[in-house]
Every structure is written in structure tokens, then in C-alpha cells.
């Protein structure tokens, strides 16, 4: 079933990016498949059709064939434009390669060779997928107390349910291995696109800095959807930046699709992905003075995918936010700011990442408009999370060291992506600035 997923995603990728290399299309296959798949699973569930191998396979095949026909009709002249790479210190390259190789080994061993380990995986993420697979449905109930958060967006679960089709029983290597492959694909795609924009060294450095965030490295062992959210958001942002630099509105369309994917991945997808992305896009659209029709067409995928999730939530009568009422109970939480500072600058989840971001931000803002605009998303998400934990009852999760660090992986990664594109002309042996 993984092969069918990949083929479907590849067809969609060729349809959406006819001018890109087959390598980029191949790397985007699973990310596209993830979004198509969750739509299939949601529609099947809303129509009360059991999530059987036949139903899912048939749906995927229809999309795959339709996309393939559409892609075959497009003129595919591959854009083989090569950007001259900025030179980079050999030591940096070795460190980057080591960081990526270690994450690969760790991710593979913990996702494929070892079973699920972490608490929330066994109560929220993998447990919901397992029940969904065995009962051929997408659970929005707590299954007799076994699922703690059955109201989460289901892209993560849907992918596992689909990947397991055809198996007699739940298989840990397939369940977590599918998400490991998704991570591999997504970051490969980010690397390849940055390579087109700034060359291989910048791509290597940027991806290594992101994956090297200590907590994110650990999450490559899979079974939580925080990494799924981060990689989907990175795809959205990198396409956004590609649109600004190339002027090709198709890339904005793709950015829109992937931010819609964020909404379908985690509850914070709407406030910390869709909304900042929309603001960022409108700011840039205003500068470029695009036609309203074009703008609406580009924003449509994000809006429609968000609407799909909101409608599902309304129909299923489940809360939209992850923690319910505590998300909107406002009040000043004494000790929250010092806990936030400790988490970002003193504990081990981020190393010196946030310190580095704050030091490098002034340089990025001075380089180009492209990169300045790209910072809006990271800035909005950071401020939003800080406000959420400082001014609502969610402070309890911060003070107990539960969710704050994981959620701050999103803005940290987005910042590094934007900053990374400007780093290469700074981190250069010959640069005297």
C-alpha cells in the first residue's frame, strides 16, 4: 500500500510541478500523498464507508490515474537551472553530514527496528491509528478511555491506517516506518528546493541546522505529529520563498496546499500556520500587486483544506482546540516568562538555536525582502506560543515541561529556513563583512 501511496503522490507531484526534476517530484510524493490520503479518509468516514483496503485503494487509484493523465498532458520541460553554490568551510560540511547521518540512523533504528516508546504515542497518536485500522474507521471518540485526544486532526493517523491496509495485524515497523519515510521525503524536498535557490552548501547547512535542533533530532524517532507539522510547514514556507524569488505563482499554490496540510496535521495548524501564512502572503501579494482573482485562486487550497477540517469538527461535534476551554482562559501566569526563557535558552531542547536565531535575525532582515517576509510566519508563531503559555491556563503544561518545547520547534525551524537562505553569503571564508 505504501507503493500505491507513493505512486499517487508522485503523479500529483508531476501534475503540480511539471517543470521540476524527477528527483524533486519523487521527494514530494509522500508529502502530497499524505494530504490526498487524509482527504480520502475524511470523506470515506463522513460518508460512513468503512476504511477497508478496497475503498482506500480504489480512491487512491482514481486520484493516481487522474493525476497521471493530467501530468501527461502538461508540457514538461525540466528546469535544470543550476545555481552557483556558495563555498563553505569543509569542517562545517563534515559536521552537517554527521548531524544528518546520525539523525538518519537514530530515526531508522527507533522508527523501524524498535517499537513505540513515548507516552502520548500510546494514548493519542499511534493508539488512535491502531484502533482506526483494526476497526476500519477514523475514531473521534475515546474508544472506552483508550484514546486521550480523539479530536486531533487526522493526517498522521490516516497515513498509518492506509499504510497498514492489507496487513492482518498492526505492524510497528510499517506504522512508524511510514512516517520515517515521510520525514525523509519532506526534508529531501526542502534540501533540493533550497539547492535550486542557493546551491548545495546552503541547502546542507540549513537542513542540518533544522534537524540538528536537539529535540527535533529526537523526534526523528517518530510516533508524534509535531515533526509532521514542522516538515509540512517547512515545505509550505520553502515554496513560498521560491514563489517570491521566481515569480511563479504555481509555487504559491503549492505553499497554500501544504499550509492546508498543516491544518489537517495538528490543532495548532490554524492559529500558528494558516493565519500567519495568510498574513505573510497578503503582505507579499500587496507588494507584487497581483490580481485579486489570482490571489483568491492561490489562497483557495489552504482555505478549502482548513474548511474541510472545521466542517469535520462541526459535524463530529468535537472541540477545535487541543486543550478545550483552557486555551481561552486568559490570565497572567506568574513564573511563565522565566520558565519560557529557561526552556529556550537554558535547557537542552534547543541547544543555542534560539540564541543563534536572535543573533542572526538582524543580518537576515538586512539582506533581502524575500527573507524578511519569510520571517513573518516564524515571528507570529513564536509570539503566539509565548502568549498562549504566558497568558492562558496552558501555563501548567509549560511549568510541567510537557508541550511548550515541542511546539516551539515549529517557529524555530521556520526561522532557520529563512535565515539559512541568507547565511551562505555571510558564512564564507572570503567574506570580510
Amino acid at each position: 500500500m505504501l507503493a500505491v501511496l507513493w505512486a499517487t503522490g508522485f503523479s500529483l507531484s508531476r501534475l503540480m510541478l511539471p517543470h521540476s526534476s524527477k528527483l524533486i517530484s519523487a521527494s514530494l510524493a509522500l508529502p502530497f500523498a499524505g494530504i490526498a490520503n487524509v482527504m480520502i479518509v475524511l470523506f470515506l468516514d463522513l460518508l460512513s464507508i468503512p476504511l477497508s483496503p478496497v475503498a482506500i485503494l480504489l480512491s487512491l487509484m482514481i486520484i493516481c490515474i487522474a493525476a497521471h493523465i493530467g501530468a501527461a498532458r502538461s508540457v514538461t520541460v525540466e528546469d535544470d537551472h543550476v545555481v552557483q553554490a556558495y563555498p563553505m568551510n569543509v569542517t562545517f560540511r563534515i559536521l552537517c553530514a554527521f548531524i544528518l547521518a546520525s539523525a538518519l540512523i537514530y530515526g531508522f533504528s527507533h522508527a523501524v527496528l524498535l517499537p513505540t516508546f513515548h507516552y502520548d504515542s500510546a494514548t493519542n497518536w499511534n493508539m488512535r491509528s491502531k484502533i482506526g485500522f483494526l476497526e476500519k474507521r477514523l475514531p473521534f471518540d475515546d474508544a472506552g478511555g483508550l484514546i486521550r485526544k480523539p479530536h486531533y486532526p487526522p493526517l498522521y493517523h490516516a497515513l498509518q491506517i492506509t499504510a497498514m491496509q492489507g496487513q492482518n495485524d498492526w505492524r510497528e515497523p510499517i506504522a512508524n516506518g511510514t512516517h520515517f519515510l515521510l520525514t525523509l521525503s519532506a526534508f529531501t524536498a526542502v534540501y533540493l528546493i533550497i539547492r535550486k535557490l542557493r546551491g548545495g552548501n546552503t541547502a546542507l547547512l540549513t537542513v542540518a541546522l533544522i534537524i540538528g535542533i536537539p529535540l527535533l533530532t529526537l523526534h526523528t524517532g517518530q510516533s508524534y505529529a509535531d515533526l509532521t507539522l514542522v516538515q509540512t510547514a517547512l515545505l509550505s514556507l520553502v515554496f513560498f520563498l521560491w514563489w517570491i524569488e521566481s515569480g511563479t505563482t504555481r509555487y504559491l499554490l503549492l505553499s497554500s496546499i501544504f499550509v492546508g496540510g498543516c491544518v489537517l496535521t495538528k490543532s495548532e495548524g490554524i492559529p500558528f500556520c494558516f493565519l500567519p501564512w495568510t498574513v505573510m502572503t497578503l503582505l507579499q501579494v500587496r507588494k507584487q500587486r497581483l490580481a485579486l482573482v489570482t490571489v483568491l485562486r492561490m489562497l483557495a487550497p489552504a482555505a478549502l483544506l482548513s474548511l474541510l477540517w472545521i466542517s469535520t469538527v462541526a459535524l463530529k461535534d468535537v472541540p477545535l482546540s487541543p486543550h478545550g476551554a483552557s486555551d481561552v482562559l486568559f490570565g497572567w501566569n506568574k513564573g511563565a516568562l522565566s520558565a519560557i526563557a529557561q526552556s529556550l535558552f537554558s535547557e537542552g531542547s534547543f541547544g543555542v538555536t534560539w540564541c543563534a536565531i536572535l543573533l542572526l535575525l538582524p543580518f537576515t532582515m538586512g539582506t533581502s525582502n524575500t527573507l524578511r517576509v519569510g520571517l513573518v510566519w516564524g515571528a507570529a508563531a513564536s509570539l503566539g506560543y509565548v502568549a498562549l503559555y504566558a497568558f492562558t491556563d496552558n501555563a501548567v503544561y509549560l511549568l510541567s515541561g510537557q508541550s511548550f518545547d515541542r511546539q516551539m520547534l515549529l517557529p524555530a525551524s521556520l526561522f532557520i529556513l529563512s535565515i539559512g537562505l541568507s547565511l551562505s553569503n555571510l558564512v564564507n571564508p572570503g567574506n570580510g563583512n
Partner: protein, 316 residues
Amino acid sequence: MSVLLSILFALAPLSFAQEETPLDLAIARAGSHASADFTGNGSTMKLTYTSKQPLHISVLLLKSDGSFVASETLAQVLDAGETKSAIIPLASSRGWRPGEAVYRLHILAEKGDEPRLLAVEFQKTGLMEYPKIAASQFLRAPEFTPSVYHRIPSRHVLGVSITTLAGLLLIFIACINRMRKGSIAAVTVATTLLLSTMTSIDVLRYSTAHLRSWFSRDTYGSAGSLYAAAEIIRSDNATGVLLCTDDTSYPEVILQYALYPIRVSDEKLSHIVVHRSVHSSFKENVVQCNDKHYPSSLVREFPDGTKIFRTTPSAS
């Protein structure tokens, strides 16, 4: 600075704590137990004692509010003997820092022993020892626990967070290089990559340790042998499984996930899993879990002490 103390123990019969057993379970299992707080300044603690049986010692580094971090606890087994001395390397704890601190000493003994703690002495740290202590603390990876996906604790060297130290260093370099963007960027990136490399080495160490224990002993960190137990239970036509444990809710959550659709509950009971339990026993084909009794037969025992029992028909 030295502290003199004598402690007499009341004795009671029970088995001893296993290696890696959480302290609270070890205390509950011990024949007798005593604890006391000592304030001192030094990288080692010298204990002078008399005991007919080996003594299990745990040393907790207390914070100013009296709390402690479990991963900073030191544990050691002292040989039996008359007026023996033992050195507890306090600085081998990841949380040790120079200066005066409060240490809580837990001493666990067996029935029949009347150990006496004759003296507790803190030995000052030589100047040349500090680099060695700093290096050993620096090289210790953070503990891999079920909560590590939420937050990774920082490495501390001589009481200072490495993250804070590196951050301050970066800011200092940025200040002295304020007109040279390239230098600041290069140093910032280099420092970030170096700290990331430390994490990379840690994750390789975790991978090696986890794979080794999984493939050779069927255990996986805090999950112990629960997955291996679940596999045996599922192939044994189980209908309901009781988990007997004094641990947190983590074992139950993992076992339920591994077993589903078989439920972890005492309804339609067919199997019992005993995992890190103090208030349980197995005698004359009866499993006692807290205050309930279940006629059962032993199916399998794992290296980490986890046991699977199959209940006999009268227990279901």
C-alpha cells in the same frame, strides 16, 4: 569538613532491590531502611561503617527547596565488613556542583544485619580534579525517558548549564565583533553545529544501547519487557490481562497499546503481568496482587523481572 554519626537499624525480612530499580520501590522492598541528610562541601563522601551484609546506598542531591532530580541520584553497593570505608564519588552525579550542598543518604539493609554508620566525611576537591569532573559531566548524555520528547534536560558542568554557557559566549563574541557580520555568523553557526553534534553523538549512543538491549534481552528502556510480554500473551489466546505494578501509569499505557484489542482489565481475565511491583507475590500457584489473589501458573519471566502468569479457570 567531616560529620560523625551512628545509626541503628530495625530489621525486617524482605528481598533486596535489583539494579536499576527506582528508589521508592527499592525502599519498599528492603529489609530495613534509614535515611539522613548531610551538609558538606566536597567531590567525594567517605563513609565508615560496619555491616555483616552488603549495604545498598543511594545519595540524593537535594535542591534548596528540598526536591531532587531522580536522574542525579547515585547508587552504590558497599561490601560487608568491620569498620570499613567506602568512597562515594559525589561528582559523578550529573547534578553535582562545587560548594556546600545537602545530600540525603538512604541506606538499605537486609534482615539479620545490624549495620552501623560510624562516620561520614566530605573530602575536598583538589584543583586538578575539576577538569576531570567537568569532562565526565560533559560526556554524560541526558537520560532517555518517556518524557524526553517533551523536553531534553540540559547538560550541566560544575553546576552550569552548557546551553547557557554557550549562549553567553556567543553574545560576548557578537559584542566584541559587532561590525563584522561574517565573523559573528560563522561563530554562531559553528557553535550551533557543535552543540548539535553533541546531540548527534548522544542519539547514536541511545541507538546502540536500545538496539542492544532490545535484540539481546527483549527490553527497551522504561518499557522494559512489556512488548515481549504482549507478544507472548497475544499468541496465548488471551481475553483479558491484569497488570500488577507499582510504577507510574506508563507501563499500563504501553502494555495496553501493545495488546489492543485485548484489554488490560480484570474482566474476562486470562493473564496477569507483574511488572515492577512491590505489593505482589507468587506462592503455591497463586498470584497475589495488592489484596487480591489469582490462582495462576507462571508462563515466562524476563530478565528485567517482568513475569507473565496464566490464570487458572477459577480466577476468570
